[in-house]
Symmetry: C2
Subunit: 107 residues, 2 copies
């Protein structure tokens, strides 16, 4: 059964998953007409091939480390790092160790 | 001099400020035509009176604890907690201890 998305005002847990990463799945935390928030679960070595979405995105690393490639550069993101991209910007992600990343997408 | 907003792809530090909260100011981290991301710095006891904004918001506690009131309920948010509100929903915030909170606003 799909996990229901959060309702307005509901408290959503985005604490690090720790060792539970290996048994956790990527989940959509929030989904509305204008906004989608996803927690990507990325075991070490997982790659998300270059792609783009229409709207602006923010990318926040919640735990672990990922290589985030966009605009001709690869930057390392770790817990406490945030970045954003304009809509239509191609980007790719590779986890350098077990990681989870929160993606906020403007639809 | 105002701190410039981040540019696309730039890595933004949202690690806890810790004891630097007392000397830190609220800052706008990202500002585009459609999106604004703000780090609110809230020393213990700070209150933000009930207000609303047009677009949807997400509220993520980065450190400390805050009481977040909306939709007739007061919920406590601490580090690792996220919630969202539909546009036009009145809300208020009071910090229960030194805290910082990241606010993402759809414009």
């Amino acid at each position: 059964m799909a996990i229901p998305h959060a309702t307005p005002g509901q408290v959503i847990d985005i604490c690090p998953l720790g060792s539970a990463i290996s048994t956790s799945l990527t989940t959509t935390l929030i989904k509305t007409d204008r906004l989608e928030v996803i927690r990507l679960v990325l075991p070490a070595g997982k790659e998300i091939a270059p792609h783009k979405v229409t709207g602006e995105i923010t990318v926040q690393c919640l735990e672990g480390r990922v290589a985030f490639t966009s605009l001709g550069k690869t930057r390392e993101l770790q817990a406490g790092n945030l970045c954003y991209l304009s809509g239509g910007t191609e980007h790719a992600v590779k986890s350098l160790e077990d990681a989870s990343v929160m993606l906020t997408i403007l639809l």
